[in-house]
């Protein structure tokens, strides 16, 4: 990978700031992120995504940090397609958080769908300027020229100029406002299989993650936080910790959790092991008496169950469900439950910061958004953004966690206090016990079977804590959380129920929560999709056919189900003792449907095979879509069959991978993945494959055993 790791360095090294063509695009869209929008990206006139040096070096900017989802290559691919350059001849550098790059948040599966139009325009704009420059040199019309593989050709004479030869002239031309984009049929990169440029460095150990950053004279820090997350620091005894060789400082630092702040205790040493060892010798007294709300997961579940017995805040209503339910004889209901989960990326949260004597600061960190990091760092230190340099690194997994940057704030605060560069690495135990976690939620499902055994009416009461509410106090009591309401709306699921009711009951908890891969879809698909199966069985219908009837006005979703049906039909007949279940869910503008095959082996349920289909419209690299869908199967199964996070007596019970288990290779089922091909707008890829996995498994277990499971996680050794 390139040794130049940001644009500022690149410009310095190449001397490009004056000589080259730096081009961008107007009005980069800042929407579709899962964080607070700050409006920084709107309506900028020049966004420097394309850099071409007179020597011919082409550098494209990746503005979305790569946590394994492939943005490192996907973003430049979109530009390169229109610019007519091949990926093996470009440099890729990350954006540094500055506003000219628009929203730089990897999250909400927004990268490709959010940048698709504008970055194609960025590439096409540069190409048109280069073609115009060549046409001027040859004194011909641009129509007599074309661009291919980094050169502009004269159609009549076959003469050519490299982009490097044209760039100085091109940079003096007016920027076209409405460049012509290629037809999908003309694509050479987009939609085609490509090997990833970042893979070689990831098999040789050369890839640099946040945890690998080295800054001269850097110190290493471990921070220890209140076990209850929100507890107040009363006192600490550091005599034993300070006796560890290599320990330089023991001090306190500000620590943020969703919606609040407290203090943590930090050990700073000249090597990480010394800091880690010393941190275990600290004797700290915490005070939990001020904590309001529940910090006990059983209490939270009891509160949710109590809330399920009362009406929620109405989010959507077609017809009068309650009246119909009371009057109908053929009704059913069920209370579904999902636990708290840890993101548990294998790279624990970490950050390196250097607050310099001149008041400027440089940060190197595995973060999901350098733009947010820039804002937060400037605000934390009370300095101008021009004094902040953010270097986003590769992320060793994240799944949402590293978009909440409390670990970065610690590194900055500690560097300022000890006046040296500091790298903070949370020990696994801190990473796991502090969260924030995927929220635990409940779904109270009710249904009515109508005349002719139709699935006539459907009600979903979503219950639990609101992420927006806990973080920003942004939810009013009389309104449903709009992320949840959108996810579970008829507009999203498209099931054509004649009568439909959706409500939300907020139940507060002090257990800290955060978005986690696929956010609420990972909770509520479980209730929605298992309950559709319950209704189908009650109506005496095949669950797949019942869904097709409900989706009769949604041809795109019918195509997905038809494909799933034909894939399943192509498999050998299910052996005796095997069964299959299906589920589907739309999230982040993509539909995914899955079938899970299970078998009973020695009294235990074994997951034999998972079939997944994703319809994400146009996509960049089919192999990356496949890889993300594979990853979603594994993460979805882990969420379904491994233990969740629980809090007792104000402490997280799970501390490491011995008590918080994740799926391992020996449990990996056979997978079969299909990507729908169409010319619909790009949808999300990184998350939509996850939500249908758990309900497809639950439905399969019902078909195998007759036992209807409504609570996750499932203990496969103890079902029916």
């Amino acid at each position: 990978m390139s040794v130049v790791n940001n644009r500022r360095d690149f410009l310095k090294i190449s001397g490009l700031a004056s000589a080259g063509l730096i081009l961008g695009i107007p009005g980069l869209n800042a929407a579709q992120t899962i964080v607070k929008l700050d409006g920084v990206a709107a309506a900028l006139e020049l966004n420097p995504f394309v850099m071409i040096s007179p020597s011919g070096q082409i550098t494209l900017v990746n503005s979305r940090p790569d946590m394994g989802q492939g943005s490192y290559q996907a973003v430049p691919s979109i530009i390169a397609e229109e610019l007519e350059v091949s990926l093996d001849k470009i440099n890729i550098i990350p954006s540094d958080g500055n506003a000219q790059f628009g929203s730089q948040q990897s999250g909400g599966s927004s990268t490709v769908r959010g940048l698709w139009e504008n970055l194609r325009k960025a590439g096409a704009t540069a190409k048109e300027m280069l073609i115009q420059a060549a046409a001027n040199k040859w004194k011909v019309s641009p129509a007599d020229c074309y661009a291919e593989d980094g050169k502009v050709y004269n159609k009549n004479t076959r003469a050519s100029f490299t982009y490097g030869e044209l760039v100085t002239d091109a940079s003096k031309l007016a920027v076209p406002t409405d460049p012509k984009l290629k037809e999908v049929s003309e694509f050479k990169i987009l939609g085609k299989y490509a090997k990833r440029l970042d893979v070689p460095a990831k098999v040789t150990g050369e890839a640099v993650f946040g945890i690998d950053i080295v800054v001269p004279n850097m110190l290493y820090a471990v921070t220890i936080h209140a076990p209850s997350v929100q507890g107040k620091l009363v006192s600490f005894n550091d005599v034993k910790a300070k006796a560890v060789k290599g320990v330089k400082h023991v001090l306190t630092t500000d620590h943020s959790y969703p919606g609040g702040k407290t203090k943590a205790v930090a050990v700073v040493a000249d090597n990480y092991w010394a800091a880690l060892k010393a941190s275990k010798l600290l004797e700290i007294v915490w005070d939990n008496s001020q904590i309001t709300g529940s910090i006990n997961s059983d209490q939270y579940f009891a509160d949710m169950e109590a809330a399920s017995k009362k009406p929620g805040v109405r989010a959507e209503e077609t017809g009068d469900f309650d009246a119909m339910f009371a009057a109908s004889e053929n009704t059913l209901e069920g209370l579904y439950e999902t636990p708290f989960l840890s993101h548990a990326a294998i790279e624990p949260v970490n950050a390196t910061a250097h607050v310099k004597t001149d008041g400027s600061v440089e940060v190197w960190a595995p973060i999901q958004g350098p733009d947010g990091a820039l804002e937060e760092t400037a605000a934390q230190l009370g300095i101008d953004k021009s004094k902040v340099k953010i270097n986003p690194t590769l992320l060793g997994g994240s799944f949402g966690r590293k978009a909440f940057m409390n670990f970065m704030a610690e590194a900055i605060d500690l560097s300022k206090q000890v006046q040296a560069p500091v790298k903070v690495i949370w020990p696994r135990e801190e990473d796991m016990t502090q969260g924030p976690f995927r929220p635990a939620m409940m779904s109270k499902m009710r249904g009515i079977i109508g005349r002719g055994n139709s699935l006539a009416a459907f009600s979903h009461q979503a219950i639990g804590e609101s992420i927006q509410g806990q973080h920003w106090n942004g939810i009013q009591a009389f309104r449903a959380d709009d992320w949840i309401a959108g996810e579970l709306s008829m507009e999203n699921h498209k099931y054509g129920f004649g009568v439909h009711h959706l409500s939300y009951s907020r139940v507060k908890t002090a257990i800290p929560i955060l978005w986690w891969r696929s956010v609420y879809a990972s909770n509520f698909a479980w209730g929605q999709e298992c309950f559709i199966d319950e209704m189908a069985h009650k109506a005496g219908k095949d669950p797949l056919k019942a869904r097709k009837e409900l989706l009769r006005n949604s041809p795109r979703d019918l195509n997905v189900l038809d494909k799933l049906e034909s894939m399943l039909a192509s498999y050998p007949t299910l052996p005796a003792g095997h069964a299959r279940g299906i589920a589907m869910f739309r999230s982040f503008s993509s539909m995914s449907a899955s079938a899970v095959e299970v078998a009973k082996v020695d009294g235990e349920i074994k997951i034999v095979k998972v079939t997944s289909i994703i319809d994400c419209g146009l996509f960049v690299n089919p192999d990356m879509v496949k890889a993300q869908t594979e990853g979603n199967i594994v993460m979805g199964l882990t969420a379904a069959i491994k233990g969740g996070i629980t809090f007792n007596d104000g402490k997280c019970d799970q501390t490491n991978f011995n008590t918080y288990e994740v799926m391992r290779l020996q449990e990996m089922p056979i997978v079969d993945i299909h990507i729908m091909e169409n010319q619909e707008k790009p949808g999300g890829v990184g998350e939509p494959g996850l939500p249908p996995i758990a309900p497809a498994l639950g439905n399969a277990i019902f078909n195998l055993t007759g036992v209807r499971l409504r609570r996750l996680p499932i203990d496969l050794t103890d079902v029916g």
Binding site: D66, M67, G68, G70, K195, R196, D198, V199, P200, A201, K202, V203, T204, G205, E206, A207, V208, F209, I211, D212, V214, Y220, K245, N271, Y272, W273, A274, L276, K277, A344, A345, I346, E347, P348, L394, L395, G396, G397, S398, F399, P427, R428, D623, A627, Q628, E630, G631, N632, I633, V634, N656, F657, N658, V662, M663, R664, L665, Q666, M668, V671
Partner: protein, 161 residues
């Protein structure tokens, strides 16, 4: 502080460290090779897997005091060479295994040790040997395929010799 002689990837290093420092942190922070990763600190995740005399070892749980000084330590940086990658690394590229890539140093070190012991592993061999390495991105299906293709390419090389 005690001094230790380490041979890492055929190069000799002398380091000064506390006896209870795990080899992981000596390799990362004192030798300066960052390809070996920290994940759990208790030999549960496999991200820190290296070879000691060819045996896959979780370096996070191996204190320096347990070393005798004669061991040949191999890390991800030494398993192949920049000019010639190991067959397992080649297979990892061919199958496009990594997503985030963080666990893959450990995965590859385990796979190399597996194939050294068992050149033609069965599915059960792969399951048993590789289940100490967690991949949170979920690349297990590709890891299985890459190990099988590395095994068959190694066998072919052997036959040609």
């Amino acid at each position: 502080m005690p001094k230790y002689n380490l041979t890492v990837n055929k190069k000799k290093y002398q380091i000064e460290a506390e006896a209870d420092m795990p080899l992981l942190w000596a390799i990362r922070d004192l030798v300066g090779l960052k390809g070996t990763k920290y994940g759990c600190g208790m030999a549960m995740c496999g991200a820190c897997t290296i070879h000691i005399d060819g045996n896959a070892t979780r370096s996070c749980s191996m204190p320096l005091s347990a070393l005798k000084g004669k061991e040949k330590i191999t890390t991800i940086e030494g398993v192949g060479s920049p000019a010639t990658l190991h067959a397992v690394q080649e297979a990892w590229i061919a199958e496009q295994v990594p997503q985030c890539g963080y666990c893959q140093s450990g995965q590859i070190m385990s796979a190399v040790a597996l194939l050294a012991e068992t050149p033609n592993p069965t599915d059960e061999d792969i399951d048993a040997y590789m289940s100490g390495n967690i991949c949170r991105c979920g690349t297990y299906d590709r890891i299985r395929k890459a190990i099988k293709s590395a095994a068959s390419s190694q066998t072919k090389v052997g036959m040609n010799k």
